[in-house]
């Protein structure tokens, strides 16, 4: 099994979710994170002084998939999350040794 992790722009969550659904995937886990990268920060004003906020809101999407789907899922995510503007984020793939569905104890491909 593989774990595909994507760091994306927050307003792209729904698009990625829909794309995964369309590709027949049944699960994913998302959370809100902050990203630092080439995108630089945004400027906020506080008491008449300017500040740079260089940790920007991003969303992390994680989905565990069978080995043979990993590349394809990564590509789907890349396509769905792309705006073409800096800060679009990254997708990476890592290897999962074992996965268990808590409810049933099913393992591996049956678990996701």
């Amino acid at each position: 099994m593989k774990l595909v992790t994507a760091i994306i722009k927050p307003h792209k969550v729904d698009d990625v979710k829909e794309a995964l659904k369309a590709a027949g995937l049944h699960g994913m886990t998302v959370d809100e994170v902050k990203g630092f990268g080439r995108q630089g920060g945004k400027t906020e004003i506080y008491r008449g002084a300017e500040y740079v906020v260089d940790l920007l809101p991003k969303v992390r999407v994680e989905t565990v998939v069978p080995d043979e789907l990993a590349d394809q899922v990564a590509d789907i995510m890349v396509a769905a999350a792309r705006t073409g503007k800096i800060g679009d984020g990254k997708v990476w793939i890592t290897t999962v040794d074992k996965v268990i569905r808590i409810r049933t104890g099913e393992l591996g491909d049956d678990a996701v």
């Binding site: 307003h11 729904d14 902050k34 945004k42 400027t43 906020e44 004003i45 506080y46 002084a49 300017e50 500040y51 740079v52 906020v53 260089d54 940790l55």
Partner: protein
């Protein structure tokens, strides 16, 4: 002569209505998404800033100058605070409070009425365009309509009644809201995406403040601490209660679940509808008026999906519809035993259709005038400086794009470095 008791009450009533605008800000602010809450709060608070100045500068005089002339607009007698002093003002006003207090009291209405519009235009109105819009609107729309009704203009002369602003405030603002969103267009993603409230406790805080402040709004419109004020307060209370119950009953029947947002909205619907009636009806009538308004408005807010206009937080569904309902129901329930200003009683009290007809005329006149002139103002501003934020700014949210701020920072990773 200035009466201390009446003055005491009107000092407080002025404070209460002033406090409604922050209340409105939280009521609306809780309903928008977290990225737009400051944009919403700013528009409401800014009305407390700019409208006050425009009011004493010119709009008060246009509304209340030439009091009782039966005409279309006042004059400049009171502009720039001229003659607005501690005396009781011109005799025609028949005041027992300082004229400067009357002006301040009316000022709070001039602040909140344009602010009501912000609920419809949520999440996409450019701040600077908004500022220009409300300044023009106060002078070109609010001041004339206030003259027609409160300033002894043609509607007052005709015999239409409006105790605390069903037409002047709610129909007026509701129609203006419709006009502006016709120019602005829908929010990106609406209606597919559910843009649900980011903080219902904030909305309920706003509701509590509005209910509290509305006692000043309606009972204050008696301009004295007397029986009519007391009756108006009781009516206001009961209509809010009945509006809440009515709205929740519909929810219960339709969805099986009463919601807190429904409770808040129903109370506001009842308050809107009782506004024109507050000092003119008695007995159990306010419960009927509030209840009908609650039921009507919860149904009315579905219209936007049918007709496809994005009245974001339901200003039209609640203030326009609720205001119309209240203005017309006054034609049914007005009671001369409650207030001797009532010369034609309501239909249900045996007064026939006369008052109902006047109420209809006043409502339609206000609606049409406000709709047309507001639309024109919005169109002109749109041409000159753009009414709406860019799509990028809208996605980012008004807080960041219009005010370079973010509303909340609960976490540990929001650090900033000072530039320059």
């Amino acid at each position: 002569m200035v009466d201390a008791g009446d003055t005491a009450w009107m000092l407080v009533a002025t404070g209460l209505v002033l406090f409604m605008t922050p209340g409105l800000a939280f009521f609306y602010g809780g309903m928008v998404r977290a990225k737009n809450v400051l944009g919403m709060l700013m528009q409401n608070f800014f009305a407390m800033g700019l409208m006050a100045i425009v009011w004493v500068g010119i709009a008060f005089s246009l509304a209340f100058g030439n009091f009782g002339d039966g005409g279309l607009i006042g004059n400049l007698d009171f502009a720039w605070m001229r003659h607005v002093d501690q005396g009781v003002g011109p005799e025609a006003f028949a005041l027992s409070i300082p004229f400067v207090l009357f002006c301040a009291y009316q000022m709070t209405f001039a602040v909140i009425t344009p602010a009501l519009i912000t609920g419809a235009t949520a999440d996409r109105f450019k701040f600077k365009a908004y500022a220009v819009f409300i300044a023009l609107w106060l002078v070109l729309v609010y001041a004339p309509v206030a003259h027609w009704v409160f300033g002894g203009g043609w509607l007052a002369k005709l015999g239409a009644l409006d105790f605390a602003g069903g037409a002047v405030v709610h129909i007026n603002a509701g129609a203006a809201a419709l006009a502006v969103i016709l120019v602005l267009g829908k929010r990106r993603g609406w209606p597919r995406e559910g843009m649900h409230p980011h903080s219902l406790p904030l909305t309920l805080l706003g509701t509590g403040i509005l209910w509290f402040g509305w006692f000043g709004f309606n009972a204050g419109s008696a301009l004295a601490a007397n029986g009519v004020a007391a009756q108006a307060l009781m009516n206001t209370f009961l209509a809010a209660s009945a509006g809440m119950v009515g709205w929740l009953l519909v929810e219960q029947v339709k969805e099986g679940t009463p919601t807190t947002l429904g409770a808040a909205s129903g109370a506001v619907a009842g308050l809107v509808a009782i506004t024109p009636c507050a000092g003119f009806v008695g007995g159990m009538s306010p419960i009927a008026i509030g209840f009908v308004a609650g039921v009507l408005c919860v149904l009315a807010i579905q219209l936007k999906f049918r007709f496809g206009y994005d009245d974001s937080l339901d200003v039209i569904g609640v203030h326009l519809v609720g205001g119309l309902a209240g203005a017309l129901m006054l034609g049914l329930f007005a009671d001369s035993a409650v207030n001797d200003v009532v010369t034609h009683e309501g239909l249900f009290l045996g007064g026939g259709l006369t008052l109902l007809w006047y109420q209809l005329v006043a409502s339609v006149a206000t609606l049409v005038f406000s709709l047309v002139v507001s639309f024109a103002i919005a169109k002109v501003i749109d041409k000159v400086m753009g009414l709406r934020v860019s799509p990028e700014d809208e996605d980012e949210g008004l807080d960041a794009s219009q005010h370079a701020e973010s509303a909340y920072s609960f976490g540990a990773t929001g650090s900033m470095d000072r530039l320059g």
